[in-house]
């Protein structure tokens, strides 16, 4: 469906620690999904919650290691247009690898 239908932007996003709260598109209930507490959590929440709820991160942990997260972040940026700077991507990668790399 074309852009005309799309509702107004998103960047009403609050990057406050609570993350999900200011999100225009949040589905009811998803604010209960929180990422693990570690350095980089707030940045990761803020950048990764735009297009989908955060469950995509913990649910994929068993399939991920550092290289897989690197590829995933790159896919979100290059294929899906996630607005994430290279510097942020590095911090997000450290956070995701540290907290959600479950692949044995």
């Amino acid at each position: 469906m074309k852009a005309a239908r799309r509702r107004a932007p998103l960047l009403l996003l609050s990057l406050a620690p609570a993350g999900a709260c200011g999100l225009l598109w949040a589905a009811a209930g998803e604010e209960a999904v929180r990422l693990k507490d570690a350095p980089g959590r707030d940045l990761t929440t803020g950048r990764c919650i735009l297009c989908h709820s955060l469950e995509y991160i913990p649910s994929n942990a068993p399939a991920m290691n550092r290289a897989a997260w690197q590829k995933s972040i790159q896919k979100m940026k290059e294929r899906f247009g996630a607005p994430i700077t290279d510097e942020e991507a590095k911090q997000i990668l450290d956070y995701l690898d540290g907290s959600y790399s479950g692949k044995s």
Partner: protein, 394 residues
């Protein structure tokens, strides 16, 4: 363990939900959380947004999967509620000789209405069981269901628009869209031959009811025998084109290694490395029991479930109680059509106490059998390996 948590979910945005109980899950759905979308019973939640909800095993036992239990799968999070009164379907494209626009009333009354019973299975069904694990929505076995779809033949609608001789693919767009314009919109294409197949429908009813919102109201594509990714929901536009469509969801997603799997090929989208995932592989699902279930000695018990394939139809289902050394035929239930699943039943021998390991293997009329090992592919598609459950008698 079954989660007994009670979730109290708000109604922000009018989007989802109501008060639901987690815990009515089938045994296999152990740690899974159940959540209800508006109009749906509590389903296994894979993601709140976009909504990705899986049908619990117990709801897959019936011949037709109830509308309120049918799985929900979206890639993109902007999902308008379409008003059937103002909805229009546009049929155009470079190979459409007389482009046209139809209202729902015109669609319903202008073409012969037909029904087909067919399995709708997500390409990624069972991805969460794949080894090695691969990224994506971590589905269990419930990203599927069987329904009676009613609508009009896509072929009839395309012919009304005039299919030029150079037509190669037909492209479908639905009302859902991405949050950021930079994210590719969800469009899919079919080879023109598949689009013109008499079984491919534009459906507006499911199991005798209007399509539920979350399953594509007011009209969706039904492509019997092919994976769910082609069954575009909330259909808004159809384009008949003389060239291969090059959108992200065709060129970069939903692909398998070329030559790795049998079944229909989508040659205009194929390259030396990869090709689109197309037909469903022969498969089966035990719905009566999950591993760990206990049976009383001497109890009358039946192993039951469903078997399906990409449209040849199920010829037989075999059951083994000795780790595949010998197989015996299960009884087949009523034939609902070659695109539907076929129920099976097999009496369990509960005369001796001890472990009982039961394996099930389906065979299609095309001669295909479920394999014992997975064919590796990066997105975890086509997990149709022989399934077994470990039961305990005593």
């Amino acid at each position: 363990m079954v989660t007994r948590r009670e979730l109290l979910l708000g109604t922000a945005g009018g989007w989802l939900l109501q008060r639901v109980r987690a815990g009515e899950a089938a045994l296999s759905d152990a740690a899974d959380t159940l959540t209800a979308l508006a109009g749906k019973k509590p389903l296994i939640r894979r993601a709140f947004r976009p909504p990705n909800f899986e049908t619990p095993l117990a709801d897959l036992a019936a011949p037709f999967t109830r509308n309120d239990a049918f799985f929900v799968r979206y890639h993109l999070a902007v999902i308008p509620r379409v008003d059937p009164g103002t909805w229009r379907l546009q049929i155009a494209g470079a190979s459409a000789q007389h482009p046209l626009t139809l209202s729902l009333r015109e669609l319903r009354s202008g073409f012969e209405q037909v029904s087909v019973a067919a399995v709708n299975q997500c390409a990624g069904n069972r991805r969460g069981l794949f080894t090695p694990r691969v990224p994506g929505v971590q589905w269990g076995s419930g990203a599927m269901g069987n329904a009676l779809w009613r609508g009009v033949r896509l072929r009839d609608v395309l012919h009304r628009a005039g299919v030029a001789p150079d037509a190669l693919e037909v492209v479908f767009d639905g009302a859902d869209s991405p949050i950021l314009p930079a994210t590719p919109d969800f469009l899919k294409s079919l080879p023109v031959e598949r689009a013109l197949d008499e079984n491919t429908l534009i459906a507006f009813e499911m199991n005798g009811q209007p399509l539920p919102h979350w399953n594509g109201a007011p009209a969706r594509l039904v492509v019997p025998g092919w994976v769910g990714t082609y069954w575009v929901k909330h259909l808004t536009a159809i384009r008949i084109e003389p060239k291969a469509f090059d959108g992200f969801w065709m060129k970069a997603a939903y692909r398998v290694p070329t030559g790795a799997f049998p079944g229909s090929r989508f040659t205009t989208q194929e390259n030396a490395e990869t090709t689109p995932v197309t037909e469903l592989m022969v498969n089966s699902l035990i719905t009566s029991h999950v591993s760990g279930a206990r049976l009383r000695r001497g109890e009358r018990a039946e192993l039951a479930g469903q078997a399906w394939d990409g449209g040849a139809g199920i010829e037989g289902v075999e059951v083994s109680a000795d780790r595949g050394q010998s197989w015996r035929d299960a009884a087949l239930q009523r034939d609902l059509g070659r695109f539907a699943w076929r129920g099976f039943r097999f009496a369990l021998d509960t005369s001796r106490a001890g472990p009982l390991e039961m394996a099930v293997r389906a065979r299609s009329r095309g001669g295909a059998k479920q394999p014992d090992t997975l064919t590796p592919n990066p997105s975890g598609y086509h997990d149709n390996i022989v399934q077994s459950v470990s039961l305990e008698v005593g």
